[in-house]
Symmetry: C2
Subunit: 366 residues, 2 copies
C-alpha cells in the first residue's frame, strides 16, 4: 500500500513551517537576552512577548497571560471557572479535546447547534430564557474546529448581549484568526466587549509552529491575576526559551512572512480539496472554509461513517469521524483537515476516500 494520506492531523505540514527563521530567532534570543532565556522568569510569560501580545490586541499587559500552548490556557481557565455540575455551553459540533476536558471536570455540557454563520444564538437565547445559567460559553469564532465555519458579526454582538444579560463568560477560543485566506476579517468579541465578559485564547501553533507550545489568554485583569497565581503554583513559569524565540520571530517580521506562506498554501489546498470532492464525491456537502485547517463534510443520510473509517484505514487515508466532536449524532459526517496534507496528496487522498465510501455502501447493501 502507498503511504497513508492523513486528513486527520490538525497540524501544519513541515513545508509551511519557517524552520530557518525559527532557528535564527532562537539564536537571537540567546544573543540578545541570555538572562531572560535561561532564568526561571515568571508565570505571566516572557515579558517582551507578553507586551507584544498586549499591543496586538490593544490591551494592558496586566490582561495577558502567556502559557505553554493554549490547551494549558484552557485548562487553567476551566480550573478557575468550572466546578462539578456547572452548565457550560459549547458548539455542536466542537473541538473534541475541549469536550473531553469539560466532561472530565464534571461540567454539565450543553451543545448548541452550529450553523455556517456560527453558533445558533436563537437556540441559546431560548435555553437562557428557559432558565439555563451557564458558567461560560465556549466558542471558536473563526474557521471553527471541526466545522470550518465562522461566526458572523451580528451573532458576535448578539452573543455578547446575551452574556452581559445572563452574566456568563464568553470564552473566545481563537487560534485560527490570523490564517484567513478568503473573505473579510471580523472584529474579535474581545475587541467588541465593554463589560469584561470575554476571555480570549489564542496561540502561535498555527502561525509559527506547534512545537514551540506557546499560547495565551487575554481577559479582565483580575481574572488574569487569579489564573497567573494558579500558573505559578503549577509550573513557576512557562517556557522562556520557546517564548523568547517566538518573540524574536514576531519582532523581526518573520511572523508576517510565515503567515503569508501558510495562508497561500492553505488556500491552494482548499481549492484542490473542494475540486476533488466535487469530482469524486459529488453527493458530499460542505461549506468551503475562508481560513483555518478544517472542513466539515456531510455524506448523504444513512452513510455509516464508522464503516467508511474502517474501509479508509485499509485504503491508506485517514480522517476524524464527526461523531468524535459530538455527544450524539453526526453518524454521516467527517472532519477533513487540509493543514497536514501537501497539495500533491490531495487528489489521491480524496480518490481513496471516495473508494472507502463506495466500499462501505456496497457492504451495507450486501
Amino acid at each position: 500500500m502507498a503511504d497513508t494520506i492523513s486528513f486527520a492531523r490538525g497540524a501544519p505540514s513541515l513545508d509551511i513551517v519557517d524552520v530557518e527563521g525559527l532557528k535564527d530567532a532562537a539564536v537571537r534570543a540567546f544573543e540578545r537576552d541570555p538572562a531572560g532565556v535561561t532564568a526561571y522568569g515568571t508565570a505571566v510569560g516572557y515579558v517582551p512577548l507578553r507586551e507584544w501580545i498586549a499591543a496586538k490586541h490593544g490591551v494592558d499587559v496586566s490582561q495577558v497571560l502567556v502559557t505553554n500552548g493554549s490547551m494549558q490556557a484552557d485548562a487553567f481557565l476551566f480550573e478557575t471557572l468550572v466546578q462539578q455540575g456547572d452548565p457550560v455551553v459549547v458548539e455542536k459540533p466542537t473541538y473534541d479535546r475541549t469536550l473531553l476536558n469539560l466532561r472530565a471536570r464534571g461540567a454539565d455540557v450543553r451543545m448548541v447547534s452550529l450553523q455556517p454563520d456560527g453558533i445558533d444564538v436563537d437556540e441559546l437565547a431560548g435555553l437562557l430564557e428557559d432558565g439555563l445559567r451557564p458558567t461560560l460559553a465556549h466558542v471558536i469564532p473563526n474557521f471553527q474546529n471541526p466545522a470550518g465555519y465562522t461566526l458572523s458579526l451580528e451573532k458576535r454582538q448578539r452573543l455578547l448581549e446575551l452574556a452581559r444579560r445572563h452574566e456568563f463568560v464568553v470564552f473566545e477560543d481563537d487560534p485560527y484568526v490570523d490564517i484567513r485566506f478568503a473573505g473579510e476579517t471580523l472584529p474579535t468579541m474581545l475587541s467588541l466587549d465593554d463589560a469584561g465578559t470575554v476571555v480570549y485564547a489564542s496561540s502561535f501553533s498555527k502561525t509559527v509552529c506547534p512545537g514551540v507550545r506557546v499560547g495565551y489568554l487575554v481577559g479582565p485583569a483580575e481574572r488574569i491575576a487569579q489564573i497567573t497565581k494558579l500558573a505559578t503554583n503549577t509550573y513557576i513559569a512557562p517556557n522562556m526559551l520557546a517564548q523568547a524565540t517566538v518573540f524574536q520571530f514576531c519582532d523581526s517580521g518573520a511572523l508576517d512572512r510565515s503567515v503569508a506562506t501558510v495562508k497561500e498554501a492553505l488556500a491552494e489546498r482548499v481549492k484542490l480539496l473542494t475540486a476533488a470532492l466535487d469530482r469524486e464525491l459529488p453527493d458530499a456537502e460542505y461549506v468551503a472554509p475562508e481560513g483555518g485547517y478544517f472542513m466539515w463534510v456531510s455524506l448523504p443520510e444513512g452513510t455509516d461513517v464508522d464503516a467508511v473509517f474502517e474501509e479508509a484505514k485499509g485504503l491508506g487515508v485517514q480522517f476524524v469521524k464527526g461523531t468524535d466532536f459530538l455527544l450524539e449524532g453526526g453518524e454521516n459526517t467527517m472532519r477533513l483537515a487540509y493543514s497536514g496534507v501537501t497539495a500533491d496528496q490531495i487528489d489521491e487522498g480524496v480518490r481513496r476516500l471516495a473508494q472507502a465510501v463506495e466500499a462501505a455502501r456496497s457492504r451495507a447493501a450486501a
Copy 2:
C-alpha cells in the same frame, strides 16, 4: 544603598550557565530534527530525550515522562494520587511550593522531622504504627531544599521497607542529585526499589538552566501511563523546542562540562559562605552542604527571624525565612541560597546579614 545581595534566589547566577553551548544545541536541534522540534510531539516528551533519561536511570522508556519543569511533574502526580483529606508525609522543613500545593489540594500534611542525615525514619515508623496511612511520602533525598541535608543510605533502605510494608508511594524529588561537589554519591531510592513504590522526579534546571523548563518523572509504567493521559489532556505535549535543545546539549557532552562548572562554582561559594558565617556570625549553626543550592542556618534561640528579615531588607540583603518551609516553628532559622550569588558578593552579603542580626537583637533588647 549598594545593590541588593540575594541569598533568597534558588536559581543559578548567569555566569554558571553555558549560554553559548545552549545556543549551539538549539541550532543543532533545528538542523538535525526540524520535524521533531516544530511539530506537536506527544505528551511523553521529546522521544530522544526520553530515551536519554531512561538510559541514565537504567529503566524502560515506558517508565519516563518528560514534562514542562518538575513542578508540573509534581502537580500531575499529586493530581492522580492525592485527594482532599489524604494524609501525606513531608519533611520538616520542606520546599515551600510543595507544601503550598499539597495544602491547596486539601491534603492532610504531616511533617516528619528532618535530621542532618535525612528524614527521621523512627518518627515516621512510629506514626505508621499508630495507624497513619499516607498516600505518599515526599522526600528530597540529596541536598534538601531548604536544609541542604542528604538522606543516608541506611535511611533510604529503611524508608523503602516502610513504604512496602505500609503501601505508600515514596515520591523521591531529586533535582539536585548531579550537583554534588563533596562526599560520595548515594544510590537513588528508585534504583534500590524492587517493589514499584518509588516515583522519582528530577530536572535539568540545575544542570542546564531553569529557563528551559524541562523536568521528568520516572516510575512504574502503569502509573506513568496514567499521568501521561492527564498530560495529554492538559497540554497535548510539552515543549519540543526546549526538550530537543536539552537533548542536543546532553548528547554532545556539553551537559558534563556544564555540571563540572556548576559544581566547581558552588563548592567555592560554600567555602566562602561558611568562612564568612564563622567570622561574622559565630553563633550561627549550620551543616555545610555537600551539594545543591541551599544551606539552613539556625540562629540562637530567641532570635526573631522576622525582625532580622526586615532589617536585612534595609541593609540590602535577602534570604528566605525558615518559617516559610514549616507549618509551625523555625522562628530563629533561615535558608541561605548560594546558587544565585557570585563569589565576590558573599563576604559583603554575610557582613550585611550579621548587621541585620545585630540590629534585630538591639531592637529587641531596647
